[in-house]
């Protein structure tokens, strides 16, 4: 109890204490921290800014020597115009949207159901299945792309949306995160509803899910970012340029002929834009999502 009072007084007088004593000591330190962060942020933003800058140059300026920031011919949106002429990038962006939205929704359905069962229901094989699920977190499953592709050939799922989507629905980490969250929800409400004769599925839908909104949002954001940016599997399973997602199309199809530096940078900027815009609007939620779901690995 005494400790609590002491703490209280410290908190109350915290500003004053800092003002007299250590604060002055800290000032040069804080300036140095600002300087370090400013330099680092500048370094970190430069590649992206340089890409944007190049994308608004003509190809002649982009490949002119010596390298200069400002283009001799002035800025132009020519590279972007050429992208929209061919129509590849908008099509790939559409494919990416279809695939990522489907992966996110289906992963949420599959994972919340499984996590609920692992958290609340006893069924034969529960322990073994959960142990296997957790164990698979530690294994880089990408290593089995070759047998997986051979299997997709047999299932005739190569060059289909389902072929891209289905293997991306397995998210053991998310099941772990959701189960841990469900475990913390008090069961009183569910018990009462059960006594009142509500079905198990209704309880899940109307009591458990609404209480889990924050964690579901976090999982959704995390899965969506992963699916939007996923490269290896969509790259392997699609050969048809009309079915490619944005990251795959950008890599697999060489745009235009000859020197295309400005064009490539315009493509990169366009491909980056959707998530960057989403991030600017939902910064807080996205950061919280990464922190909560990422840390769950512990």
């Amino acid at each position: 109890m005494t400790a609590a009072t002491l703490h209280g007084s410290h908190v109350a007088s915290g500003g004053a204490v800092r003002g007299i004593g250590p604060r002055r000591w800290f000032e040069p330190g804080r300036s140095a921290a600002y300087l370090a962060l400013a330099v680092l942020s500048l370094i970190w933003l430069t590649p992206f800014l340089w890409a944007v800058n190049t994308s608004f140059k003509s190809e002649t300026d982009a490949s002119a020597l010596p390298v200069s920031v400002l283009p001799a011919e002035g800025y132009t949106t020519g590279a972007y115009a050429r992208i929209f002429e061919t129509g590849d990038v908008p099509l790939w962006a559409f494919n990416s949207a279809v695939v990522s939205i489907a992966v996110t929704l289906l992963t949420l359905i599959v994972s919340t159901l499984a996590a609920y069962a692992f958290s609340r229901l006893e069924f034969p094989g529960r322990r073994v299945l959960y142990a296997l699920t957790i164990a698979s977190i530690m294994v880089p499953t990408q290593i089995f792309i070759v047998p997986l592709f051979d299997q997709m050939l047999a299932l005739k799922l190569v060059d289909t949306y389902w072929g891209i989507i289905l293997p991306q629905l397995i998210h053991p980490v998310m099941i772990f995160v959701l189960k841990r969250f469900f475990d913390e929800i008090p069961m009183e409400l569910e018990d009462a509803a059960l006594v009142d004769g509500a079905s198990r599925f209704r309880i899940f839908l109307q009591i458990v899910l609404p209480q889990s909104r924050p964690i579901i949002a976090a999982v959704a954001i995390f899965v969506f970012i992963g699916a939007w940016n996923n490269f290896l599997w969509p790259f392997i399973v699609t050969n048809d340029p009309n079915l490619m997602t944005l990251p795959v199309g950008l890599q697999a199809v060489t745009p235009g002929y000859g020197v295309v530096f400005a064009l490539r940078m315009a493509q990169a900027v366009l491909a980056a834009l959707p998530l960057v815009i989403v991030f600017l609007f939902f910064q807080r939620q996205i950061i919280r999502s990464i922190s909560t779901t990422g840390i769950a690995g512990s």
Partner: protein, 313 residues
């Protein structure tokens, strides 16, 4: 006093809850199977089955180009893999890449998180600048860095030139290609580890620092004696996650160098890819996968034991 009062109360609540849970479970048992079924089916089809099927494939000469049915070849694929210089070169490259990325990707984001956690102004801007690259697809990152690392026209060599240095050919030079890929990787993924560290730092109660300040502990001493010990678990977690992420590197290397020049950046997953999809040798590719798989599983077990022992202390 409060904790003492809380203790038994909480345990009895937990016990009651567990009792309820048991009653609940006893009532309807197999219905849970319906709930896990979608996941279990996907898990079995697209994760467990490829693992088993890959094991079978690794003992065959299954070839995408050959029309004939695959035949059993015993240990031939494994014997070939053990004698294949490129397998070992790729393993070595993968380990080297993991070392080169893990060290900066643990230290750098930790330092940035410590700085940002000083409650400086402009939090959102620092977070934006450091974290944004993580939102980019590997293709975008690779295209931007291929452009930056361009020997003649790239910004990096132009900057080096302006201070009188001659930059290397980066991605075209076996001596610098790996460094270039590592730089791109650090730029790209620092944001994830940074957020994990920042979340851990923000969980440390401010009172601890205030008490330390009153006791006259300098900022450096506070970092080393208070902060780092308190977030030790997060540091270990980040190391583990980073090793796991780096060891399966594919995207940025494939896109920036294609494994070259002279195999200097070829990682193991890339060699599996090339063997399977460029040379169509699915059987041999599966054998290489399995060798790598066994190594990673052993490594994971060692890591788990090591970390659980550390956490116990």
């Amino acid at each position: 006093m409060t904790t003492a009062a809380l203790g038994p109360n909480r345990t009895s609540r937990l016990a009651a809850r567990r009792g309820r849970q048991r009653r609940w479970h006893r009532n309807r048992q197999p219905i849970g199977l319906l709930y896990v079924a979608p996941f279990a089916v996907l898990f079995a089809m697209f994760l467990v089955w490829p693992t088993i099927y890959g094991f079978y494939l690794s003992f065959t000469d299954r070839n995408l180009a050959g029309a004939s049915a695959p035949s059993f070849v015993g240990l031939a694929n494994y014997l070939e893999a053990f004698a294949d210089q490129v397998v070992w070169r790729s393993m070595g490259n993968t380990v080297w890449f993991t070392v080169l990325t893990t060290i900066p990707l643990v230290i750098l984001p930790l330092v940035v998180a410590l700085l940002v956690n000083l409650n400086l102004r402009g939090q959102w801007f620092w977070r934006l600048a450091i974290f944004m690259p993580f939102l980019l697809a590997s293709t975008v990152v690779s295209q931007i860095f291929t452009w930056l690392f361009n020997p003649d026209l790239g910004l990096i060599n132009a900057a080096l030139g302006s201070i009188g240095m001659t930059g290397p050919a980066w991605l075209q030079d076996p001596k610098t290609a790996m460094t270039a890929v590592v730089i791109a990787t650090v730029w790209w993924t620092i944001g994830f580890n940074f957020l994990l560290f920042l979340a851990a730092l923000q969980n440390i109660p401010a009172q601890i620092y205030e008490a330390a300040s009153v006791d006259g502990a300098s900022a450096w001493r506070q970092v080393f004696l208070i902060t780092l010990p308190l977030i030790r678990r997060t540091v270990l977690l980040v190391v583990a996650l980073q090793v796991l992420a780096s060891i399966k590197v594919f995207d940025q290397i494939y896109q920036m160098t294609g494994g070259g020049p002279a195999n200097s950046t070829r990682a193991i997953l890339m060699y599996v890819y090339d063997t399977g999809f460029s040379n169509y040798r699915l059987g041999y590719a599966s054998a290489i996968s399995y060798i790598f798989f066994v190594i990673v599983v052993v490594l994971s077990l060692v890591q788990v034991r090591f970390f659980s022992r550390k956490a116990d202390r």
